[in-house]
Symmetry: C2
Subunit: 143 residues, 2 copies
DNA sequence: TTTATTACCTATTAAACTGATATGTTAATG
DNA sequence: CATTAACATATCAGTTTAATAGGTAATAAA
């Protein structure tokens, strides 16, 4: 599996915040209830998103979270890379991977690179706005 | 990560067997040494491939493994699905997944389906023969 | 100034998965 | 009957996953 609950939950929260934007902030509790996700678990995920300036978090009464940009300016790829760490399909293509000693003879490396590139292009080509509630029937992401 | 060592090793063994085809059988020991993979670990992987008729295994002296088909008749996708169990990018698209109660409201399902389909098409479009040693320069799988 | 709210922070945990190793048993050959 | 090599089953250490627990800090309202 390429994407765990961390990434999937992160996306759902971003969409939820986009769909429920107000002048004020949306408390985690609300989103967690709407999305039926463990509140405490979500905290850790949102922390990462705040640290990377995807969200603003404000404490205290009236506090909560808010998007820092318009929904169309977030790509699915960037959200997933932040929360998952990497979207590489194989270990050898992960950012922290040490260079493989079998690289020169590897028959599969180019294939993995192609897959990696394809996944990246697909996910970087979809924005949070694309995932928001809409009425256009039959709209989908099938290539 | 979508593909673990199980799938990667399986592919490397299939390529190795394809590149080292003989009239006789290739013992696991040889392949394991050439590919620098734990012999015992490989055993378990090849067992799966034999059970699904991707390979023939013969015991005893002179025994070993052999492809059951020509290299161009194996797709990378089928080998990986057998050894990895599934290539679904998210849990909800796995074969054994129970249908999600949030499906109707899910904003991301179509995106995941598109990704799944793209990955499947890519990996089912490459054969073991495509991965074998060749001289054509610049050949790669970049879309 | 106290109380309620809400984000932030750190640690722990049970279950599953990964990547192996260990120890055999069965079948084929010479 | 000895050697070879696949087949079979169990175990294991380490990591990851998906949470939970229990606090601290900041903000607003009473």
């Amino acid at each position: 599996m390429l994407i765990s609950t961390k990434g999937r939950y992160a996306l759902r929260v971003m969409i939820d915040l986009a769909e429920n934007q107000k002048d004020s902030y949306v408390p985690l509790k609300e989103t967690a209830q709407r999305q039926e996700i463990s509140e405490k678990y979500l905290e850790g995920i949102l922390k990462t998103l705040v640290q990377h300036n995807m969200l603003t978090g404000v404490r205290g009464k009236g506090g909560g979270y808010r998007l820092t940009k318009a929904p169309e300016n977030y790509t699915v790829g960037e959200i997933l890379r932040l929360t998952e760490g990497s979207l590489a399909p194989v270990a050898c293509l992960e950012p922290q991977a040490k260079s493989c000693p079998r690289m020169a003879q590897c028959r599969t490396l180019e294939m993995w690179k192609g897959l990696d590139q394809m996944i990246t292009q697909y996910l970087d080509g979809i924005t949070i706005a694309d995932l928001m509630s809409r009425d256009v029937p039959g709209f989908d992401y099938v290539i």
